[in-house]
């Protein structure tokens, strides 16, 4: 899936963690996104797509095949 995140754009809302906790987390110190799994399994693709769409900072980019 080749997922990537833009730490500079991330606003720390944490919506992605709520939707896909196996793929995203937040840093303790500033809430910025931590990508746990840049190539999540197919069953998580729907959740990852939703995370990218609802991210209020457009900080999640999807690669091919999604």
């Amino acid at each position: 899936m080749k997922l990537s995140v833009d730490e500079e754009k991330c606003c720390g809302a944490g919506q992605c963690v709520l939707i896909a906790p196996d793929v995203f987390d937040q840093r303790e110190e500033d809430g910025i996104v931590v990508l746990l799994d840049p190539d999540p399994p197919a069953e998580l693709h729907e959740a990852v797509r939703e995370s990218a769409e609802v991210c209020p900072a457009a900080a999640i980019r999807l690669g091919e095949d999604v």
């Binding site: 809302a13 944490g14 809430g31 797509r49 939703e50 609802v54 980019r61």
Partner: protein, 383 residues
């Protein structure tokens, strides 16, 4: 989708994600492809980002969406029964369903007219114009001490301009955050050199010929300015719907499913819908709501039965402080710090005592989100 910003784009994306394969048309009054507004008062205004970086999606992602974007053409009327939208350029667009997502228009001050040196900030073009003006400005006055005004003042002060912040609230963001945290925001701005005039409106804009030279306060004091930024709130951009027969009352009035009429829905800043958890019609002017509400609208358009009842959420960046707010702090609510402390510059505050209705993070985004789990939308409704 009438409106090509976060809510319009979000509806289109959610429809595709949920399997809709039919035609999609996104109509936008601005010439630009969808872009994000929160960075306009921060990264774009400071010059840290080139304007293009505020774009919400890559060209490839928009191509993959397979939607027709009709840009630079504003909607001028809607026939809800026929579900047709007429535009300023003379187009008539018809659809099985229409989503109203036209957002907000900034309020202006009396006498503002076309005075040079007076700015509002809503669009990317506004941000670029203001950024250019700030680059030349020595003295900046920001009128309005809500979220946007305080962010603009922070950005202006950080860029080196002598900055004043004037507004009706007793402290910046006091209405949004309560007086205690509003007081902390005031101290933060003071530490960073922002002169503040709280609890006061503006008597008038002072000008020489067509150029603003400052603002006069009701006290008679004049604050000289090379640039005046007016951030005194917005009104829903719904004037084009006046002839539609839809109910308009500080926004497009919708039911709990965000439906304004058969086949007509609203999402984002302009939508006032019935929030079942809160037991009231609400309208939220924030970025997160635009996308979340778009998702609910998409689900309902595809035959779902989703009552949209979110815990409201917004964030704001003020200098080096990132503030996250879940729920809506009420005036006079009891505030308890449950993690961190004010002195350390990081804390989580819970509003409402034993029955919390809001959680705020001050440089503690993750922890605030975790504490926000204690808020249900019905808990948020408890008076």
């Amino acid at each position: 989708m009438v409106g090509a910003s976060a809510a319009g784009l979000g509806t289109a994306e959610a429809l595709r994600r949920k399997g809709y394969a039919g035609r999609l048309t996104v109509l936008g009054a601005e010439h630009r492809l969808p872009y994000d507004r929160p960075p306009l008062s921060k990264q774009v205004l400071s010059g840290a980002w080139e304007p293009e970086r505020a774009g919400l999606r890559s060209r490839d992602a928009l191509d993959a969406l397979d939607a027709e974007f009709v840009l630079g053409d504003a909607a001028v009327s809607l026939d809800p029964a026929a579900r047709t939208v007429r535009t300023a350029a003379g187009r008539t667009l018809g659809a099985e369903a229409v989503v109203l997502a036209t957002g907000l228009r900034p309020r202006r001050l009396p006498g503002q007219g076309d005075l040079d040196g007076v700015h509002v900030l809503r669009t990317l073009d506004d941000a670029v114009a203001l950024r250019g003006a700030l680059g030349q400005a020595r003295r900046v006055v920001v009128v309005g001490n809500g979220v946007l005004g305080a962010e603009v003042a922070a950005t202006a002060a950080a860029s080196g301009a002598h900055t004043s912040l004037v507004g009706l609230q007793p402290a910046p963001l006091a209405e949004q955050l309560g007086e205690r945290v509003g007081g902390l925001v005031a101290r933060l701005h003071a530490r960073n050199g922002v002169r503040q005039y709280h609890g006061t409106g503006v008597e008038e804009l002072v000008h020489e010929q067509a150029r603003a030279t400052g603002v006069r306060l009701p006290s008679g004091e004049v604050l000289p300015a090379d640039v005046v930024v007016v951030a005194v709130g917005c009104t829903p951009a719904t004037e084009w719907l006046v002839t539609s027969g839809l109910r308009l009352d500080d926004g497009v009035v919708c039911d709990a499913r965000c439906r304004a009429a058969d086949g007509v829905y609203a999402a984002g800043d302009a939508a006032r819908w019935y929030h079942e958890g809160l037991g009231a019609h609400v309208r939220l002017e924030n970025r997160t709501n635009a996308t979340m509400q778009a998702g609910a609208v998409a689900a309902n358009l595809l035959g779902g039965d989703v009552a949209y009842a979110p815990v409201p959420y917004f964030w704001t960046d003020q200098f080096d402080v990132k503030i996250q707010v879940f729920g809506t702090p009420r005036p006079g609510a009891e505030v308890a710090l449950v993690e961190g402390d004010e002195e350390g510059g990081r804390f989580v505050a819970v509003y409402g005592g034993g029955r919390p209705h809001a959680v705020l993070g001050w440089n503690m985004a993750k922890q605030a989100r975790q504490h926000s789990r204690a808020l249900s939308t019905t808990g948020a409704a408890a008076a």
